[in-house]
């Protein structure tokens, strides 16, 4: 982790939907190569903020840069430098495994040779060579989730955004998924992940706890546990809320 370089810089981010304020003056930095966790219950404003950072929606106000580019003037260029995986799972169920990989690799402008090479690599790492020609709909949930993540980083982005990637997944797959996140982080990809599993918060380098559109706390899990005299992140969360 390189504390010098902030790959995401957010200052006073505000997002309103009519009268409702979904994000209220958020300020934070995400450093190069770190795993940054965005925590909070449903409706706390996590997904709204993540979508803004991905360029999927525009903020009401605030100063934001992603991957070294100003969000307002470079939304399209930013999209090339980031990867995104949503909780509602982004692969096409009626396409085959390799067709999905080829599709996304093609969208990010990889050459034919690169596509072939990375597809093989990816299937080998995931041990999915056997199901190369199967439709996504035929795969178990856990496999799909892992495949979706690999596809989201196939173009080697600087940052990957993961929106509740492990919701409802069984405990073994969840851990395998986190192994993949660690590996990506080792490879220099910054990981921005939202979750409402508090134990997963402890896997992150730094976390940010959101509630009702505001950031309540931000820091490394160890720092937060010391500050709130808690044994785990769940307790931290409860102490903050009360």
């Amino acid at each position: 982790m390189n504390k010098e370089t902030a790959v995401i810089r957010v200052r006073d981010l505000v997002k309103k939907f009519g009268k409702f304020t979904a994000n209220d003056k958020l300020c934070f930095d995400v450093y190069e190569g770190e795993i940054f966790g965005f925590l909070g219950a449903n409706g706390a404003g996590k997904t709204t903020a993540l979508r803004i950072l991905c360029g999927l929606s525009l903020p009401t106000s605030g100063e934001i840069s992603v991957a070294g580019l100003d969000l307002y003037s470079n939304r399209e260029r930013i999209k090339k430098r980031i990867g995104y995986m949503s909780q509602k799972f982004s692969l096409y169920e009626d396409l085959k495994v390799y067709e999905n990989i080829r599709l996304y690799a093609g969208i990010y402008g990889l050459s034919r040779k690169e596509i072939k090479q990375r597809t093989d690599e990816l299937l080998e790492t995931l041990e999915l060579e056997a199901v190369r020609n199967k439709r996504i709909a035929e795969l178990p949930l856990g496999w799909r989730q892992k495949l979706a993540f690999s596809v989201a980083i196939i173009h080697r982005p600087r940052i990957v955004f993961l929106d509740e990637p492990t919701g409802g997944v069984d405990p073994i797959t969840r851990r395998q998924f986190w192994d993949m996140i660690y590996q990506a982080s080792r490879d220099g990809i910054t990981v921005f992940v939202t979750t409402h599993y508090m134990d997963e918060a402890e896997y992150c380098d730094r976390v940010c706890i959101m509630e009702a559109g505001r950031i309540d706390a931000i820091g490394t899990p160890t720092e937060l546990m010391e500050e709130y005299k808690a044994e785990n992140m769940d307790e931290v969360f409860i102490r903050i809320a009360r």
């Binding site: 219950a41 851990r175 192994d179 899990p221 769940d234 809320a241």
Partner: protein
């Protein structure tokens, strides 16, 4: 002593070519707070829908309070309080209107059973003129529970009531369920959160349509075979890689900032320590710990995968 409230015998259920439930048998006692614990797609919702008479099993028999879920569905519908996965509230009706509606559906009034729901409803009563769609997740959850209880059911069936709700509301919700036990209502609750298992009287761990284990949380963790070690070091990721490569390792899983490790019987902690030293790990800590439900779940899952 224990009278059986829910009796499930050899239930199977398939959707096209997906087997959601594979020959499941299970008994729930009257007045018990019973947890059905498992990830998405494990078969929790299918089982719950069979018990609430919304689905018909392909084979097997299930009864609720002695009534057959297929034949006597009308009787079951009278005595069951059901809170579906998405809370099923009318978003455009106010808190009070939702309550009144569900009360009239069951031919009762809020006043008649106020003592039962008071503990829960009092939290949201100040907002009774607010529309359900404008409530926070925690308040929606309380309203849905109040609606499910309004007719004083014999058995309360809750499908993932705490999913996506903030940690504080989750905690409050479980406290409410515990207090409901005083009214001798049988409660069946499903959840994907392993840590909630410890709050139940008994739990069933379910995965891939199969029940891995049914017992009290204490017995499940107590029956955990082998020694569990919590290992931590400065570089957790490298530590995990090294432990996975260690010849005596049986399993190693990430738990917060620790790794939970089980090893083949013979090996001692001392050997482990020296192995990790050679790998150059600093700030090494190894403690023997008691397993929690998630450790057991992982162990049972891995066991199933080894000998299916």
């Amino acid at each position: 002593m224990n009278k059986i409230s829910v009796d499930i015998q050899n239930i199977s259920k398939s959707y096209k070519d997906v087997k959601a439930l594979k020959d499941i048998s299970l008994q729930i006692n009257q007045g018990e707070l019973f947890g059905l614990i498992g990830p998405d797609g494990a078969g929790k919702t299918s089982l719950i829908r069979i018990l609430t008479t919304l689905l018909i099993p392909d084979s097997g028999i299930a009864t609720v309070e002695g009534y057959d879920v297929v034949k006597d569905y009308k009787e079951i519908r009278k005595i069951t309080g059901y809170m579906a996965g998405r809370f099923s509230l009318y978003q455009d009706l106010t808190v009070e209107e939702n309550m009144n509606f569900y009360a009239t559906v069951f031919g009762t009034t809020i006043e008649e059973n106020y003592d039962l729901v008071k503990d829960i409803y009092s939290h949201i009563e100040p907002f009774k003129k607010r529309r359900a769609g404008k409530l926070s997740g925690g308040m929606k959850q309380k309203l849905a529970l109040s609606c499910a209880l309004i007719h004083r059911p014999d058995i309360l069936i809750l499908d993932e009531p705490t999913t996506g709700v903030d940690a504080v509301s989750r905690k409050e919700f479980w406290e409410m369920l515990m207090r409901l036990k005083d009214h001798s209502i049988t409660i069946l609750v499903s959840t994907p959160y392993m840590d909630e298992a410890e709050l139940c009287d008994r739990v069933a761990l379910i995965q891939d349509g199969i029940i891995l284990s049914v017992d009290t949380p204490g017995n499940i963790t107590g029956n955990y075979e082998g020694k569990l070690l919590a290992v931590r070091a400065e570089d957790l990721y490298q530590l995990k890689k090294d432990l996975a490569g260690y010849e005596h390792t049986l399993s190693v899983y990430l738990f917060g900032q620790n790794l939970h490790l089980t090893m083949m019987e013979k090996n001692s902690e001392k050997d482990l320590r020296s192995y990790l030293k050679t790998k150059g790990h600093g700030e090494l800590r190894i403690d023997q710990i008691n397993p929690n439900i998630e450790d057991c779940f992982l162990d049972l899952m891995a066991g199933k995968e080894r000998n299916p």
